[in-house]
Homo-oligomer: 241 residues x 2
Amino acid sequence: MAAAKSAQSEAGPRKRRPRDSLSRAVILAAAEQIALRDGLEGLTFGALGTELQAHSTSIYRHFRDKDELVLELIDALRAKSYGDQLVSTGDWREDLRLIATAIHEHYLRYPGFAQQMAARTTRRPTEFHNVEFALDAMRRAGLEDEDATLCVRVFGNHVRAVSAMEASLRMLDDEARTMDELAWTVEYRQLSAEEFPNISRTSDKLLTVGDPRLFSEGVEMFLDSIELRAKRAKAARRKRS
Amino acid sequence: MAAAKSAQSEAGPRKRRPRDSLSRAVILAAAEQIALRDGLEGLTFGALGTELQAHSTSIYRHFRDKDELVLELIDALRAKSYGDQLVSTGDWREDLRLIATAIHEHYLRYPGFAQQMAARTTRRPTEFHNVEFALDAMRRAGLEDEDATLCVRVFGNHVRAVSAMEASLRMLDDEARTMDELAWTVEYRQLSAEEFPNISRTSDKLLTVGDPRLFSEGVEMFLDSIELRAKRAKAARRKRS
DNA sequence: TACCTATAGTCAATGTCGTTGACTTCATGG
DNA sequence: CCATGAAGTCAACGACATTGACTATAGGTA
């Protein structure tokens, strides 16, 4: 109730931040701290202000709006997380597993950003590098350029979309998640055998939603499918010549 | 400036809604109208109040909070959209295409709900029916129960996740979407051929993010992969006996 | 050195949300 | 015919992003 006007914990006439002590880099670092600690929903201008010991609206001197800040943050996190890990092993299957795993783990590390990371194109070095890396693996698998560009997109969409969905599962409140998981181990076993014969027969084998095997098996199925396409292309080439 | 206190467009002392004229069903119908017209972001309690000609907070007499309302709405839309369309053709590939297409189209029809529809388990008849339908197709494809349950999940996750991602693309403001699409037709063609040889070579063949071929090709790749698994299982059975 | 000015940080205010608690109305049934 | 409580209303709250007016200050210029 004394003199302290704003939410400064200690007394004293809260001082103004020194000039030029804020910058995009400083703000992004603070944003990363908050995102790691509280998730994306905790990343508000208010929280940023507290973290920076600055007024929340000072951020508008450096970013046009929150969207611009979030996009920059996504790119920074991506570069830091797997920007330097993508080194070819020489084995195309292993390389595609590598990039899929890197993206999957990255999304699960920042589940609050997963949705935006999956859907948007950042057109930044990290993204270019990913595409180049995957295209090269596809070529070594034996795909023609047409198939390679198609498969890069289909495979990339799969990896990003499924990772984002898994991530969004982890963002649910405990109550909702528990209910959802329970459904697959309880409710599906109680369905009538006449109406749902296949579910009844296999109900003890049904996987729960977040089962870790799902992602890796999905990747393997794509790899098989790519190999099949390469064989077909090879056969077509032989026939033509 | 006259007597009208609230935002009623016409004069007159806005009347109270007759007792018991609201119900979950009435509110859900209004919510669907708004969702169709303005998308999920337009579905606010304020908008619901206007649509119903009722006070926004009256809704709390029928739904605990907004989340409960949204989940109910998702289920209603799903049942209406493809609850009765899933009739087997006898051809397992065609059946899996059928359910994939139904889900894909449904998600694109309600892009604002796609994220929530993809991630959450509703454990309602429509969902049970989908699983049963897909399991049956897998069995007819020749998969053992272990593989069938796995593939149902992997395939289902793929379809829902990719559809949700495509849907979320359509939710971006025009500005962001235009920029993102332009990237694939312009910026990727300007990358240096030394640093990104594969991109340079294939840049005229790169598909744009929302290309309709991507979804159907992804489905076909999965179908090929499922067929391959079935063949392997058959071979293993023959060997064993 | 003393002043100017562009810029960075601050602050108060606005508008949009979801949600709450205190009201008012009114159909029912004792 | 009044008491009860459920259904609709309303004002207010707190969180949020964003805006425009302000104020202090670093760096250049006279």
